[in-house]
């Protein structure tokens, strides 16, 4: 009896292996898709890293210096010295600023009043005017922040502030230089894993339904669960390779070291990959065509991941309904986990809640999968 059970198990294993081998053949033979799958994470990381950046560099600014004294000169030099701004030196009347903004020649303007030095010496305070082009809100806010920081720093350093001015000292923890990479690398990781695991898995299974081979597989002694497992394994391996590639790129090309524990990061990623695979399988069970599967994966998952995971827009600012939706998105939890491990160096003790939510979601999806799968199998 025991040997029979053993024999049976090894038979199942060899079925599974020949199945996995076949899946790899499908995958490797489809060169175009393979290129996309491996190229995408690399391109995304490099794109976000070097091209699409929130960081502000060499913003063109005009300083309307009505004071033209020592203080104003020093301030202008200080602004120019920072890599964030390029100061245009043409002297403009205040009315000319509007035209400069409209033509796009400048993104910001700083107006220094005539009596800058006098007021500072007498009252110990003064008001300068900052104008920014708010057609791009993020840019405008960043510029305003940088400029304010420079001016505050200037007045403190040069000892011109009155003794009783309370200047807030802001420290940006974990990411003092306000770099974009810590934000988007976890985002790209979530996105790529989602795309590979959910979409590719769903499409791969539905393709067999479309071509009719699924029927043949179901009539074979291969257990339906095995069929699906065999489909998921190659994509699991593929997404792991992708994951390592992203991490390698971000540590080398983008100088973003992993502060936390790498095994923990990989373990959490495996959990998320499992969540995604389960989702992909669920989609494949309820859909009958590759197009529908792809559509659901893209609209139903990729968009929420980009919009709602907090990767592009802060969840805190969303209306309640969207916030609720965000909390139901698995990638939102993974995104937080990756960010905390990579950037803050957090351990499992700080992340067990997020991990539990993700694990719970996976179990729920898995149960749903099994239920739907059995229904489908009987009614087709």
């Amino acid at each position: 009896m025991a040997t029979q059970g053993k024999k049976k198990r090894s038979a199942h294993l060899s079925h599974l292996l020949s199945f996995v081998r076949k899946e790899f053949r499908h995958m490797l033979r489809d060169r175009k898709t393979l290129l996309i799958l491996f190229g995408m994470p690399v391109v995304q990381v490099l794109l976000f890293g070097f091209v699409l950046s929130n960081e502000v560099k060499e913003t063109r600014i005009i300083v309307v210096d009505q004071a033209k004294d020592a203080v104003s000169q020093a301030l202008i030099e200080k602004i120019e010295a920072s890599s964030y701004f390029t100061v245009l030196t043409d002297s403009l009347p205040p009315t000319g600023i509007t035209d400069a903004f409209r033509s796009g020649r400048i993104k910001a303007a700083l107006v220094l009043p005539v009596d800058l030095q006098r007021d500072l010496l007498h009252d110990g305070r003064n008001t300068v005017q900052i104008l920014t082009d708010a057609t791009d809100i993020n840019l405008a806010q960043t510029i305003e922040g940088y400029l304010t920081a420079i001016i505050t720093d200037f007045s403190l350093a040069d000892g011109m502030a009155a003794p009783y001015v309370i200047a807030p000292e802001t420290r940006m923890l974990y990411n003092p230089e306000l770099r974009g990479a810590p934000n988007f690398v976890p985002g790209v990781m979530a996105m790529v894993l989602l795309l590979v695991c959910v979409m590719m898995t769903a499409v791969a299974i539905v393709r067999e339904k479309e071509t009719g081979t699924m029927e043949v597989l179901l009539v074979s002694p291969m257990r339906p669960v095995m069929v699906i497992l065999a489909k998921a394994i190659p994509y699991l391996i593929l997404s792991f390779i992708n994951l390592l590639a992203i991490l390698l790129l971000s540590t080398t090309a983008l100088d973003l070291p992993i502060k936390g524990c790498l095994p923990l990061l990989l373990a959490e990623s495996t959990l998320f990959i499992t969540t995604c695979l389960t989702l992909g399988i669920l989609i494949s069970i309820v859909t009958a065509s590759q197009q529908t599967a792809m559509f659901i994966a893209l609209i139903g998952l990729l968009l929420p991941t980009m919009m709602l995971s907090g990767f592009m827009f802060p969840i805190e600012n969303m209306p309640m309904a969207l916030q609720a939706l965000a909390y139901a998105t698995p990638s939102r939890w993974y995104y937080v986990i990756v960010k905390d491990i990579m950037i803050k160096g957090a351990g499992i003790s700080a992340l067990w809640q997020e991990t539990a939510v993700l694990a719970g979601m996976t179990l729920l999806l898995f149960a749903l999968c099994l239920k739907m799968f059995n229904i489908r199998l009987d009614e087709r």
Binding site: K22, H26, T213, L217, P221, M222
Partner: protein, 251 residues
């Protein structure tokens, strides 16, 4: 314990499948002999597919009795699956795998050993005249060859019964004829063939033919007997006589 000793490959007694109020297959009874070529005809929606799914162990019947290859359709579906072959109306090989890879894969999931697969594979490829094409992708083969290969793969593990669900759809008459030669060959070595078709000339090739109408078996006999019963010379008119009374489906 099993009833393998009976001469019947398939036995159905009052086999019924309901989906809610809809009775897809209504108390169907028949038996298929070992090595017989059994034609399973019926208009679209008559319940053929549901019946085949029950016999293949894909769908559990609502009521009635049934055995396939001596195994019970309720409790022994796993063993049924190991003893049957299946080829569907949709072409059922992988187009992006080569001829060799397709054979290896399907033989593999039926648990054939590697050595067995290798020797039998060479034999089959030689028999089908595909030696030159062995490493070509199946997608590049003409439809007729694909169809023949699909059938050969379905019987590669030497099942007791092979179910063919409209195997010759969209194939030209010459290839269809050649395909039937393969079916005869399989029947000669003792494989029971259970085949559905829309081509009524093919019904003539069967040992016996059943015609399903509205979930029931309306007629079952040899083609010669059926034609005599209905007083016509072709299976075409036999089928038409029966199918025009159908209340569901589009014939």
């Amino acid at each position: 314990m099993s009833t393998t000793a009976t001469p019947h490959s398939i036995v159905a007694e009052g086999l019924t499948k309901r989906f809610g109020d809809f009775v897809a297959v209504d108390a169907v009874s028949f038996h298929v002999n070992k090595g017989e070529i059994f034609g399973f005809l019926g208009a679209n929606g008559a319940g053929k597919t549901t019946a085949i799914r029950m016999l293949c162990g894909l769908s559990i019947p609502t009521s009635g009795k049934g055995t396939v290859a001596g195994f019970d359709v309720y409790t022994q579906t796993e063993r049924i699956k190991r003893n049957i072959g299946y080829m569907s109306q949709k072409f059922s090989l992988y187009e992006d795998l080569s001829v060799t890879e397709n054979i290896e894969f399907f033989a593999g999931i039926y648990g054939l050993s590697r050595d067995r697969i290798r020797t039998k594979r060479e034999e089959l490829i030689a028999k089908l005249g595909l030696v030159q094409e062995a490493d070509k992708l199946v997608g590049a083969l003409p439809l007729g060859w694909k169809q023949k290969l699909a059938f050969s793969v379905a019987v590669f593990h030497q099942p007791q019964i092979v179910f063919l669900d409209e195997p010759t759809g969209g194939v030209d008459p010459v290839t269809r004829r050649q395909f039937w030669d393969l079916i005869y060959e399989a029947a000669d070595v003792g494989i029971t063939v259970f085949v559905t078709t829309h081509y009524l000339d093919e019904a003539e090739y069967c040992d016996r033919v059943s015609i399903m109408v509205d979930g029931r078996i309306a007629a079952l006999d040899t083609p010669t007997e059926l034609k005599k019963q209905f007083g016509t010379g072709t299976m075409d008119s036999v089928f038409y006589e029966l199918a025009r009374g159908a209340k569901r489906g589009g014939a």
